[in-house]
Symmetry: C4
Subunit: 360 residues, 4 copies
């Protein structure tokens, strides 16, 4: 079956993966309301382009924290790529290299972080948790820095792991233990239940003071992932955080949060271009990427769709996936008369009509 | 089958119970619009937490009319627990004892009120109707007081029994005659049709004067159950009523009332903390409990879900049910940075976003 | 099968009637949008009663154009009752007599108007069209007056017959030729296609001048059926019309009109109690009747449900149907603390909450 | 099967055509959101007519750019009529001639433009693309002018071809190569993939300067097809464009544009009657035509439904289709008291109620 759009990868992956692995990736918290709303929210955003502004020489490159990316999207941090493909994160980073985008490696990578870094020619960031035992985080930062990662992405929406009912029903245990941090946290190897492990290891009572502590541990840029409230954006900017990622963790943490697109306008207004603003959650089309940029985002993180493409066809599947996003983004830019990503920021907003009755 | 969420209990109970008993509990009045809207309304309430306010040492205890409860929820009064479990209300109260919450016994309890009281170590209130023959109510209050009940919950939304069409289709007759009041009202034993009995026995033309009369009969706190209009809250407070329960009787009385969550904000504004405000109707998750408290409720009553858990596994099922509510409430508090129930009242409201287009 | 609610009659009638007869009654114009919206609109109207205003001695009688009716509803004019029951309109009027309500006989009655009048002890009005040949209308008025009908209900929304696609697909022809006017219009007998006949015979270019002409032909009260615009209500009142019926002809004439309930508030405001205001369209429950009265209507006309009940069980079926409406209206009044229909008008409005996002 | 409404033609055509040809016509871009919304939007537009304004002698003729049309609709330009009927555009123009309406021939006509022109007694316009090689456009204009076409309809919403996923899945290739321009663009014959061909041949970076250039090439009136933004309407009027067509290309170009009906009011306000305003997109009923005129359109273009009728029964099918639109438009005019199309413009707007919560 030819992969015509990103949804095809999920359909195909469903046949390839075991039910419990599929569910681990596809599922969300509780009623999965937020997970589904992430996708539905895009339907409430209309585009009304003006004509005669098109150009065939569109350029989607962006500069993000001194990296140049060929497209305004990156690979989101997600656990255990080896669950869906034998080469795991290695297969992923190869595709990222070839498509000129960037990648955020998960703390729960199934491949050691140094191994992934060695394969990377692309911008590579590391997703970090603050452990209850702060010394683990310190050692991890040292390893990450030594391996050449260029930014730390601190996940801020996991004081505890979310209520993933599919995993409970499947009694899901990961088959491919992650090894990124194995030299540090052998506990990860001894325990196969995601929620038990993470709730045991990760700090659940972080405060903004911990951010001050984290800044003191590293010279790397610090990015917060999991912002949903505009007031948090304000605080982060005042603390000289280097970038923000709007995220509800793909609907996998607290259910009944709004979609990320619904909170984007208010947060973008707060950020006001002072630092890069990234976003994830339900992006399935290049047109979705366009909408997010038009409403104030600088870059999009791709999560589940990366895993589906990896499952279906490894590095080749991922390259195809990135091409689908890029091609549709390009075409949307042509339709909307935007030659560059900056054009989308400046002119794209005028093309957007938010439906009344939605919660924007 | 493991009970992962409260909905699982209903699914399992459906297999266990006869169709007519299942329908008696599951059904509502008329088109069951209000019954379904109770549940749907929660989807119109979004949560947008701020980060870095979490704490692992959450505390869900509340003090309610001088009782301390481990969690801000109680067992709502519902008829005939023996319909679904041989030990009836005894099995229920055992679970309530063990989980440190409270219970409201129904006038239509299948177990004598004195027997239930003897088993109770928990806060125990008695749900009361005013009978056409006021002397029955007087005698009942005397028995209730003697048995040690600590509050009277007067049901105010049953001038007549609602139009339960499922029961009509099933020609439902209760199999387990309630005995709480049998020494007083032998009529209850002679008649097995709920609506005929209750319409015959209960007063249908109550006025606020009857509340004055009731107050004169007892020193127990009086709580009104079935408030939907903010003006009634105002009147009740002026009459020194001790607490209010927002309820549409689970959608079993007048159909096409709004959901209880829709009227909560206006009533909470009217009550303004002067007396405890309780609510029931469609609560299926701890996250629902959080939302109600954030919008002004002090405590939640659990109705149908108690009966499903009782049907599935008696006292053990109920403890599991209460644990599910408590666990998810705790997790929601952690996500939203609320250490105590009072924190939810003070800060939780800021996390709430009501969808436009809804009828709040 | 016991008839628990009015919907049961339709389900049962569907089994009894031929597909084409069922469709003739059940169908509407075009996409049947308006027909369905008539029913859906009731869901956008919530009731929030205040407690302690109930009384068991409710009284639903109304006085309408000097008639006293036991309930605030009547039988709407509809064609060809003999299509669904051998005794046709005779069976209908018997039930109306016994239940103390009123009836509007259709020009397309399958029984001669004099025969129906002889059987009627109830208030009986005659539904009239203005024929292209005005002398037919004049003769008809003479016959109607001689037979003792007490009001003329002029249908004003049939400049042409609506686009009933079900009838076109079924090549529907009536099996029971109407005879009410056969002595005048033999053309009706020669032609069995409803639309051809009516478009040929009825005037399609009426103006308000024709109302002046009509008034000159009779001393009977004149009622206009088919008002949807508040400006028409204003004109009618200025012309001393005696009553108005809000109707979109059950969604059988112009599709994509709003529901009648949506236009009721604006028209009721215009009428302001100066003349009686009636309404039809999608009334399936006594609670619907309550809502319409609370929003300003004086009386409701029942159309399709009358035909279903007639089909199922003739006079007895109709009595049961009227009892279902009356019982639920009574119960809704008790819940909402209204002893009389006038109470609904005065206090009921306060119980109504119209959903935002609806088109009221 | 008798064709009762225009939807019947599509159902029948689905049986007649191959899946890939059916999909080529029926499909839209991406998720087909805009394609479906075109149709759904009509449901948000209610009609509330006043009574007693009807007339049986309705007249639907309009004058458009000096042509008189019997009805306010025309045949939209669409490619390859020979795909669905052996006589292709010849069969179409015969029906147009007989029904007194007009036709826009597509650049991708399957019949040479001169042949179609010879068969036409109706107003005939030519739909034009500006080719990358401007000389092709120049030659085409000369041929079009010589053949007697009376206006040029420049398509402005195809900087590139849309993302038609059905065609990709079907690997659709047209079976009936278009020949309208074959003497000029032999490339069209060598290539059967619509998107490859058009993206290769048509200019993708047009600006308003190209409109100035186009005006210099011809004395024919110039009409822009594909306007969705009111600012473009303003620019066009300032450049003395002769007419505008609101279109989202039937949802086949940029997905997630709003429906054309949603943008009509703002564009009509901008145009303010200075030049004719046409519209296409989801018109399936004469009542839809009425609504568009009431909201400010002068004429409607019919696209897909023309192809379905052509597929089902050629010239006869088309005449029947046009009659269905005309009949329902007439009936809607009678119901709404509009004798002429001008009446709809003047009085029809008062009959329109747009639902709140929609994006008008």
């Amino acid at each position: 079956m030819e992969m015509i759009n990103t949804g095809d990868f999920e359909k195909e992956a469903r046949h390839i993966l075991s039910q419990s692995t599929y569910d681990f990736i596809a599922g969300g918290a509780g009623d999965e309301y937020t997970m589904n709303r992430n996708i539905e929210a895009f339907k409430q955003i209309h585009l009304v382009p003006q004509i005669f502004r098109s150009s065939s020489d569109t350029n989607t490159t962006i500069t993000l924290l001194n990296h140049q990316l060929s497209h305004p999207f990156m690979v989101a941090p997600s656990a255990f790529h080896s669950c869906v493909h034998p080469q795991g994160e290695i297969a992923t980073v190869w595709a990222v290299n070839q498509r000129g985008i960037g990648m955020v490696l998960s703390t729960m990578s199934s491949i050691p972080l140094e191994t992934v870094a060695k394969e990377a020619t692309c911008p590579l960031w590391f997703q970090l948790y603050i452990f209850k035992d702060r010394s683990i985080t310190q050692q991890l930062i040292q390893k990450v820095t030594a391996a050449g990662y260029t930014a730390l992405v601190l996940t801020v929406d996991v004081p505890i792991m979310g209520n993933r009912e599919r995993d409970k029903r499947n009694q899901f245990k990961w088959q491919a233990p992650f090894t990124a941090t194995q030299s540090i946290t052998s506990a990860f190897l001894a325990e196969s239940n995601v929620k038990h492990t993470t709730d045991a290891l990760f700090a659940s009572d972080l405060s903004w003071d911990d951010i001050e502590w984290l800044k003191a541990q590293t010279d790397l840029p610090i990015i917060l992932k999991g912002i949903m409230h505009e007031k948090d954006a304000e605080i982060a900017i005042n603390l000289d955080i280097n970038a923000l990622i709007i995220s509800n963790h793909g609907g996998r943490q607290l259910d009944y949060m709004p979609s990320t697109m619904e909170v984007l306008p208010a947060i973008a207004k707060q950020v006001d271009g002072k630092i890069p603003l990234l976003i994830d959650g339900g992006f399935r089309r290049g047109i979705d990427v366009f909408k997010a940029i038009a409403l104030g985002a600088d870059c999009i993180l791709l999560g589940r769709s990366v895993l589906w493409a990896l499952a279906v066809n490894g590095t080749e599947g991922l390259k195809h996936l990135f091409d689908l996003y890029a091609k549709e983004l390009n075409e949307t830019m042509i339709f909307c008369g935007c030659k560059t990503i900056n054009d989308i920021k400046i002119h794209g907003r005028n093309s957007i009509r938010l439906l009344t009755g939605s919660s924007f």
